[in-house]
């Protein structure tokens, strides 16, 4: 099923063309990796598809124009896992995760017991229920990332956007997180994530979109599109894509 259908997306920021005529399709069950150099427009594209930035072109979500949704309705369809950042206030992890229910409650109501139960369940699901009462800004980067993922799950939207989800995580946690994404995918979630690691894209996703200077270099099935030729064009490095017998592929630089 076609979830997101965007056509002719162009976006400029201070007379600087960030995105130029991008088409973007997302189907149910996809894990799409957005790759490209720093500043190629990956994060901007995510924010346009979430309705945070307004762009030229049309973005349809569930075949309805994005402008026809309220922020609240959009939040129930797409949730966002941003890059971790510092907050100058001492929220507990539970406070932060519970904010995912904001789209589900009205102006005059407060979080219900059920909302809180959902939050606790999702904390358990990502495996950090022991950090529930810890101060968010004092836990490690990986734990913060997991807390954001818990918040995205609490939001109960089936599409999740992630901006460089493994940045700042140690090697083990990076792989655990990717494995977790694959598990969530089997439960019916659809992901779009930006990443700097071709390996991670090969491991966790089925589709790839390569952006270069705000234009699409190539897009499509991960196995046919994430080739050494494309990586050479994208990053100007020589790599070799190696297939193992178990079906996994690896990207190894040949420097």
């Amino acid at each position: 099923m076609l979830l997101i259908d965007a056509k002719n997306i162009s976006f400029s920021y201070h007379n600087n063309q960030v995105l130029d005529n991008i088409d973007f399709q997302l189907y149910q069950g996809d894990v799409l990796s957005l790759v490209g150099q720093n500043g190629c427009g990956k994060t901007t594209l995510l924010k346009i598809l979430m309705g945070i930035y307004k762009s030229k072109g049309s973005v349809k979500i569930f075949s309805k124009e994005i402008q026809s949704y309220s922020h609240k309705e959009l939040a129930k369809l797409i949730s966002y896992v941003p890059q971790t950042h510092q907050i100058p206030f001492d929220y507990t992890v539970f406070d932060v995760v519970l904010m995912g229910r904001l789209a589900h409650i009205g102006l005059f109501s407060n979080y219900s017991l059920q909302d809180k139960e959902i939050a606790i369940k999702c904390l358990e699901k990502v495996g950090i229920s022991h950090l529930k009462d810890s101060i968010y800004s004092k836990i490690s980067g990986g734990e913060r990332q997991l807390a954001f993922i818990a918040r995205a799950l609490v939001q109960e939207s089936k599409i999740i956007f992630m901006d460089e989800p493994v940045t700042g995580l140690d090697y083990g946690n990076q792989l655990k997180l990717l494995k977790f994404l694959k598990e969530l995918c089997l439960e019916g979630y659809t992901f779009v994530k930006t990443t700097h690691y071709p390996d991670h894209a090969l491991y966790a996703s089925n589709k790839v979109m390569m952006l270069q200077n705000g234009k699409i270099l190539d897009v499509g099935d991960i196995n046919t599109k994430l080739t050494k030729e494309n990586i050479k064009k994208l990053y100007d490095v020589d790599v070799e894509i190696i297939s193992k017998q178990n079906g996994y592929k690896y990207c190894i630089p040949t420097l």
Binding site: H71, I87, P88, Y91, F94, M99, L102
Partner: protein, 343 residues
Amino acid sequence: MKLWVKRMTKIGFIILTIVLLFIINGSLFIGNYEINFTEYSMFIQKLIGFDSNITIEKYEMLKSVIFDIRLPRVVAAVLIGASLAISGAAFQAMFVNPLVSPGILGVLSGASFGAALGMVLGWNWFLINISTFSFGMIAVLFALSISLIYSRAKNMIILVLGGIISSSLFSALLSIVKYSADPYDSLPAITYWLMGSLSFSTSNIVWNLTLPMMIGILILLFFSKYLNALSLGDEEAKALGVDTVKVKFIVIVVATFISALSVILAGIIGWIGLIIPHIARLLFGADNKIILPISGLLGAIFLLAVDNTSRIVFSFEIPIGIVTAIIGIPIFIIVLKNAKRGF
């Protein structure tokens, strides 16, 4: 939330409410006209409909002292303390900046200019209110637009600087108004009023402003859950389903509105909007659903306590704005030491 934290919050609310009621009661009792305790309790008995030995003259006398003179002042102190503290907490969360307050953002300077202008030009009371609020609003928008010029820096200090510039501008404009004011009549009135004094809170003004201020406070309390999301940044708040433009607009207007009305009640009372939210956060964490009401209670308690103390200690009326500054500054220095991060 851990069970004990939850209990602590509940107990905290109850304790602070009891303390506030206790201080309100005490404030009605203390004053130039001495009332002894037996008289006071007999008066209360009669008031709530029981028989008591109090004479009719004495009863009427006490009723006039307590209801016409002391109660308005007490209500004013509660409203001002709560309004400034809650708007301070709301501004801090919304701008993701623990260094701002109605005073820092220029609201109080702008509002006092607006009010003084109205007084000197002899406008009626309603127009003075409008001009107070409008110039408070203009001042905060001016501070914001200065900070937006440099917004790419995303530095907390820039907004504070914007506020300082805006405050100075409106202080200068206020000086022009004062300079042109009648030096024997309106100049001393404006000067004393701006020092921050509850003695200007006469019953008429207080009862007129009580309802609007309470509505303003209530609106901010309803928006406290959105403030949590906004304090993570605009984009994240949008992704969480918050209409950031609408929420920010409402919060800025309402917080400025109640801060500006506090200026009409008692001039410029600084520091409450800055320090009280910090104290609330030190005690109860960051969740604005808790911090806003707690700040309100603490602000009311703080201002009443300061007013009572200065009334007991000094036999003459000392402007409360001066006292809050003298007490507020050392508290802020201590709190700042604990607040550390981000700036």
